[in-house]
């Protein structure tokens, strides 16, 4: 995290990130076309593009999917999460190009409408070996479209964080549809075995990282049950904090981040109002608690974003007992002042 983290604006990091995505895309496409032109000089150029864009979208999909768990496992990967949305939208655009080219190449010159042809050219829906694999790609693309279309914060606000999050979890369905699209395509078309090897490495990595991160988090949720005293949760001795950072406890339903800012302690919900990022893993910058994911900021005392922003998170009341900080597990209304401890 740095001082330049600012919410929403186009800042130099976002531009650098986008430039990197564009460079990655261009170099992949050039390399793919170059190598294929040598290995398969007779391949139809449109088929070559279909393969180049198809495999690139598969690669990008994997990248999008591993960023989340990598960031849970190590904060070093956080810069990748900062602008992940653009990586997701690029994945959709590249996949759309692959899908539309395929539709034109394989279905536009038929007797029937392209989409009807897509669904009826091969009707072996009951056979696994001959299954119309293109249909799986089509459904994956439709879901990716809805995700890309609602990726903007405008939709996040209008749909609500919970619904938006659920909608975007459909990426997991996309993932399995794409894996089967590629596998069934590969066995029917005798594509390169390299693709199968990469696919196998790819899904092992994606599944492995998610299980590891998920298991770690669920274990943490269990561990974070703290000792109770008068219904308050014990957080720790005032000397156990790093300056500007938080300690996190769990009230059984959600995590609470207790920050130290100079000689002042304050507690807010660990869940960022933007996309649910872990506020307690961020730090206090210029007196404001700053989310490690996309840099949304909150005041320490009332959990409100500074004007002109309007986001709010819940605060919690703190107490000092000897040299120990205790927190009330019951949240205050989002955006209302909580009792802080001032030394």
């Amino acid at each position: 995290m740095s001082h330049q983290y600012k919410a929403i604006h186009w800042n130099p990091q976002k531009k650098a990130y986008d430039l990197l995505i564009v460079l990655l895309i261009i170099s992949y496409l050039l390399a793919f076309v170059g190598v294929s032109a040598i290995i398969h000089p007779n391949l139809d150029p449109v088929n070559l593009l279909i393969r180049a864009f198809g495999s690139l979208s598969l690669l990008l999909l994997h990248l999008v999917l591993i960023i989340g768990p990598l960031c849970r496992l190590s904060a070093r990967f956080l810069p990748m999460l900062y602008n992940r949305r653009h990586l997701g939208v690029s994945t959709f655009l590249i996949a759309a190009f692959h899908g539309i080219l395929s539709l034109i190449q394989f279905h536009a010159y038929g007797d029937s409408n392209m989409l009807i042809s897509l669904f009826t050219a091969n009707t072996q829906y009951t056979s696994l070996a001959q299954f119309p694999f293109q249909v799986l790609g089509f459904f994956a693309l439709i879901i990716l479209f809805f995700m890309a279309a609602t990726s903007h914060d405008f939709w996040l606000k209008n749909l609500g964080q919970n619904f938006w999050k659920r909608l975007h979890m459909l990426i997991y369905l996309v993932y399995i549809l794409v894996i089967m699209h590629v596998m069934l395509g590969v066995i029917q078309l005798e594509s390169s075995p390299l693709l199968v090897i990469f696919l196998c490495i790819g899904f092992s990595l994606v599944i492995g990282l998610h299980l590891l991160a998920g298991w770690k988090e669920v274990k943490l949720d269990r561990q974070l049950q703290e000792l109770k005293d008068d219904g308050y949760l014990l957080v720790g001795s005032i000397n156990s904090w790093e300056e500007g950072k938080a300690r996190i406890v769990n009230n059984g339903k959600q995590r609470i981040a207790i920050f130290k800012n100079g000689n002042e302690f304050s507690a807010i919900s660990n869940r960022c109002a933007h996309q649910g990022g872990p506020l307690g893993e961020g730090q206090v910058i210029d007196g404001l608690i700053t989310c490690p994911w996309h840099g949304y900021q909150y005041r320490t005392d009332d959990g409100c974003s500074p004007p002109p922003f309007t986001e709010k998170v819940s605060t919690f009341n703190l107490q000092l007992l000897g040299d120990k900080i205790l927190v009330d597990p019951i949240p205050n209304q989002p955006g209302t002042k909580g009792e802080q401890v001032k030394l």
Binding site: L184, H210, E217, K253, R255
Partner: protein
């Protein structure tokens, strides 16, 4: 994320960690011994210029087409009197005895009055091609035609 969302994520991935390898492995188990679709140009109906053979059979005309380099082939089926069944699977059979699961499936003629199918060149290398029209729903052989390329 909330505790419930974290649990849902973990649960989704536990399910995926079972389904994905299962799908992956079962695709391997069913690898057909011959390539099912050498190309995916199923319904493509820009007619290739050369007609190699043409034959008429009661209610249909069958043409074998190719391009000038003989690198691409098409089978054109023109129906003069429609079939009474909606499902007219068009297959290439490797032997006189048609067995659906072993035949190469070209596509459904349906109620169309004609269709062009791409033919993998490997099929045209044989001396004779058995074109079979078969209704997989009623399990009924509608027509079997032999063409000699």
């Amino acid at each position: 994320m909330t505790k419930a969302q974290r649990k849902l994520h973990l649960l989704s991935w536990i399910v995926l960690s079972i389904c994905i390898p299962l799908g992956f492995i079962s695709s391997f188990l069913v690898i057909p011994d011959k390539i099912m679709q050498e190309n995916v140009f199923l319904n493509k109906s820009i007619q290739l210029e050369n007609i190699l053979t043409k034959s008429s059979h009661d209610n249909l005309i069958v043409l074998l087409r190719s391009d000038s380099e003989k690198s691409k082939y098409q089978l054109e089926v023109i129906i003069t009197t429609p079939f009474k069944t909606p499902e007219v699977g068009t297959y290439i059979s490797s032997s006189q005895n048609f067995i659906m699961d072993e035949a190469y499936y070209l596509g459904n003629l349906g109620s169309a009055n004609g269709k062009l199918f791409s033919l993998p060149s490997s099929l045209v290398q044989q001396e004779q091609i058995q074109v079979v029209l078969f209704d997989p729903i009623k399990n009924e052989l509608l027509k079997q035609i032999t063409i000699t390329p």
